[in-house]
Amino acid sequence: MTGFWIGLGIVLVIIVVLVMYGIGIYNSLIALAERYKNSFSQIEVQLKRRYDLIPNLVDTAKGYMQHESETLENVIRARNAASGAMQAASAAPGDAAAMQGLMGAESALAGAMSKFSVVMEAYPDLKANQNMMQLSEELTSTENKVAFARQGYNDAVTAYNVARQNFPAIAFASMFGHPENAELLEFKDSALFQEAPKVSF
């Protein structure tokens, strides 16, 4: 008789322990996923700010660079593409395709911007323009913030990926709705106005 009770007790305890353990893994994965998604929204705020600044920059430059309209158009096009890519990414932060898209668009934008800054070297008046100086300073500080927020995001993604791949979490991760690693976000640090590229002839 006692044997039955002990058996039942042991089975119950084992069930409880297993279930609790599973719930623990489930919850911690959710919490970590939540954290990296939140970190992405920090990047988003700064990127948005940057995408707002770029048209102002181009407008200011237009008056001085009539003959460089192609460069300016490239910047605007790259900016629009990056803005679109960011919206896609913010709908699904951590998703590999969306993140790759954002990285690609960002590097195209960085390319267009660096071309712009090379061209700008030829217009000392523009460089001395008060409005231009202010805008470029703000752009630089926004880029610093993007880099910082990106670091925070990557830390959170790494923590999530590590937790997901640990044993025994890896065995349940797909079942719990975490089938894939989240994607890190790496931008080529554009650092536009910090070190203007040297042009050699």
């Binding site: 008789m1 305890v13 705020v45 630089t140 913030k145």
Partner: protein, 640 residues
């Protein structure tokens, strides 16, 4: 009732709660035992073809079985409760995340979001706690909640419906209500409640499992004579029923405690804002809205007792509602209310220009004379008044926009704190900046320099509120970033080879709020064994604010008198250092609430002994109160 009594009261309530809970668990154990006994007897009876092999009465009186069942049930309920509470240890962020909340960015440009953040910021500065992160729930219902373990990890949540329909006054009432939950120690109790009920629910859960196993085995091995699924099905069903009954009583306990705390929070909200129209208006809006306070998230019921208004409609109103009826709450605030809800408002009425204008004129109306009473500050711990609110509003308004913008995002918040630590002496300052350029993130040194130019113009009384503002943003640093930040703080402080009092205060406050939270219970109920710690604390205060030895001694005596314990002696200046003070404060943090009040009072007496209170003494005082977990509002200038 002051802050300390409220905290004690909350603890007493928790004790009552535990007793009720233990009774509920005992009831559950007995029912489980009864159920299993009957099931086993039935099983044996059917096996033995009608011959009664085991007497039900004999089995029921078998204490060994009782012990076994009792132990098992206790283990299960206790384990599940502990588990649930530990999963909520992450604090308010976890609760907000499980309700689907999205943290509001301090740098938001949305006007409604900005307004909530401003109201929360003012309320936090007015009550002297770091600005808590605000989460937005994407729900149409009008509701709000505060969650967390202590002021260190508190968060505020608001629904979109709430943000969009409320006027600023109403919003202020709602936020004040939530702050009262934070300051009255309700949040800790809320988390306990969730844990306990989860524990009882686990029994029902096990019941479901047994039920399913029984059905499965019944289908799979129908031919085998040994397995008769009926008892297992009965056991499963019974456990489900017991779980349900347990949850029934659990929810009843939860509701009865929660309703009292809601009335208290409403009353406190009126006290904080002295504007009954704000909170009653908010309640009326909830009544008028077709969705009321509904929160649709599937996890909503578990947190039902945390909301501003009932977020979940329950079948049995009255006994099980975690909130008193809206009408009753409004009538307590406005006894002459006619019982009619106003017309439904879908969006808040256009308020005259931006809301700060109206308040500014209010601030101006209040006469603010010179002079400071630090003792009144102790009364205000946990109970900010409208004067504190308007002072907070004024302080925030006086801080230049550049600094505020920096303080509100995690990138710039670090620059603000670094700039507070910069030396006034140019060479030392350059050295510090050089260190920052080397170790800190790109562009941060330049930003620090730019911010410092503004920060140095600030009054001393802005400094701690500014630190409080940065703490909210700094909470979103990743662990790596936080460690780097702490390392840089240390470098800045040690650059001149001496630690100033204010530098120590900043590090103390930051470590207390951003470091790992300490949640141990009060360990000391008497101060007698802690004389050396009390000596260190009072001696430092005495030496910090007084010049000649006679004054120091009399200041020390003034403080020591309050404590009523023998063996207090002034520590010589040479033996005092801030590390020892930090250690002493860590130990004194473990005394019970009533004793903390005497400690804080004695510190204040020590400071005012010479009738002169310097800004650095005020900062020190607030840092000490803060490390005791007693948020002290900024001191009101008052007439002498």
């Amino acid at each position: 009732m002051d802050f300390f009594q409220q905290q004690d009261q909350a603890r007493k309530n928790s004790k009552r709660l535990i007793i009720l809970f233990v009774l509920a668990v005992l009831g559950v154990i007995l029912s489980v035992y009864l159920l299993l006994s009957v099931a086993v007897t039935g099983y044996n009876t059917s096996m033995a073809d009608g011959r009664k092999s085991i007497d039900l009465i004999a089995l029921l009186t078998n204490w060994q079985t009782l012990l076994m069942v009792g132990g098992g049930t206790l283990l299960l309920v206790g384990g599940a409760s502990t588990y649930r509470m530990s999963s909520l240890r992450g604090g308010g962020q976890v609760v907000a995340a499980s309700l689907g909340g999205r943290p509001l960015q301090q740098s938001t440009t949305d006007r409604d979001e900005r307004r909530v953040l401003n109201v929360v910021e003012e309320m936090a500065i007015a009550s002297g706690i770091p600005v808590p992160p605000v989460f937005l729930l994407d729900e149409d219902g009008i509701n709000a909640f505060a969650a967390g373990y202590s002021t260190q990890d508190a968060v505020i949540g608001v629904t979109r419906g709430c943000v969009q329909t409320m006027t600023r006054d109403e919003l202020q009432g709602v936020i004040a209500h939530e702050f009262s939950h934070i300051l009255n120690g309700d949040m800790r109790m809320n988390i306990r409640l969730i844990g306990y009920i989860y524990g009882i629910m686990a029994i029902g859960f096990i019941g479901w499992q047994v039920f399913r196993i029984a059905l499965y085995s019944g289908r799979g091995r129908r031919s085998s004579k040994d397995s008769n699924p009926i008892p297992l099905i009965a056991i499963g069903g019974g456990l489900i029923a017991i779980g349900a009954i347990g949850v029934f009583f659990g929810n009843w306990i939860k509701a009865s405690i929660s309703r009292q705390r809601e009335f208290l929070a409403d009353a406190s909200a009126v006290q904080f804002t002295r504007n009954p129209l704000g909170i009653s208006g908010a309640l009326m809006q909830i009544g008028a809205s077709p969705v009321h306070g509904e929160i649709k998230n599937p996890s909503a019921p578990e947190f039902s007792h945390m909301y501003f208004a009932s977020g979940v409609t329950s079948m049995f109103s009255g006994m099980f509602s975690t909130h008193p009826p809206l009408e009753k709450r409004i009538l307590r605030i406005q006894p002459h209310w006619d019982g009619k809800f106003p017309n439904r408002r879908t969006r808040k009425p256009a308020e005259l220009a931006n809301d700060s204008k109206k308040e500014k004129s209010e601030t101006r109306k209040r006469k603010i004379a010179k002079g400071v009473t630090i003792l009144a500050g102790i009364e205000a711990i946990g109970q900010p008044t409208p004067s504190h609110l308007s002072l907070a509003h004024k302080l925030i308004a006086e801080i230049p926009e550049v600094i505020k913008e920096a303080a509100r995002n995690p990138y710039g918040a670090r620059a603000v704190l670094y700039s507070l630590l910069l030396n006034h002496e140019p060479t030392a300052r350059q050295q510090q900046l050089a260190q920052l350029r080397k170790n800190a993130d790109r562009g941060l040194a330049e930003m620090t320099e730019a911010v410092a130019a503004q920060v140095s113009k600030l009054d001393a009384q802005h400094r701690l509120p500014l630190v409080d503002m940065t703490l909210g943003a700094l909470k979103s640093l990743s662990p790596t970033q936080y460690n780097n930040f702490r390392a840089n703080l240390d470098v800045l402080i040690k650059a001149d080879n001496k630690i100033e009092l204010f530098e120590w205060v900043i590090v103390r406050v930051i470590h207390h709020h951003l470091g790992p939270p300490d949640r141990s219970r009060p360990k000391y109920h008497r101060l007698e064994n802690l004389t050396s710690q009390c000596n260190m604390l009072l001696s430092l205060l005495a030496w910090a604010g007084h010049g000649n030895p006679a004054e120091v001694q009399s200041a020390f005596d003034a403080g020591a008198q309050v404590l009523h314990i023998p063996g207090l002696n002034l520590v010589p200046r040479a033996q005092i250092n801030l590390t020892k003070l930090g250690d002493a404060l860590d130990i004194l943090d473990h005394v019970e609430m009533g004793l903390k009040k005497s400690l804080i009072t004695s510190c204040a007496q020590c400071i005012v002994a010479d009738h002169q209170v310097t800004p650095s003494e005020i900062e020190l005082m607030r840092a000490i109160a803060d490390s005791f977990g007693c948020p002290m509002p900024p001191l009101l200038p008052s007439s002498p």
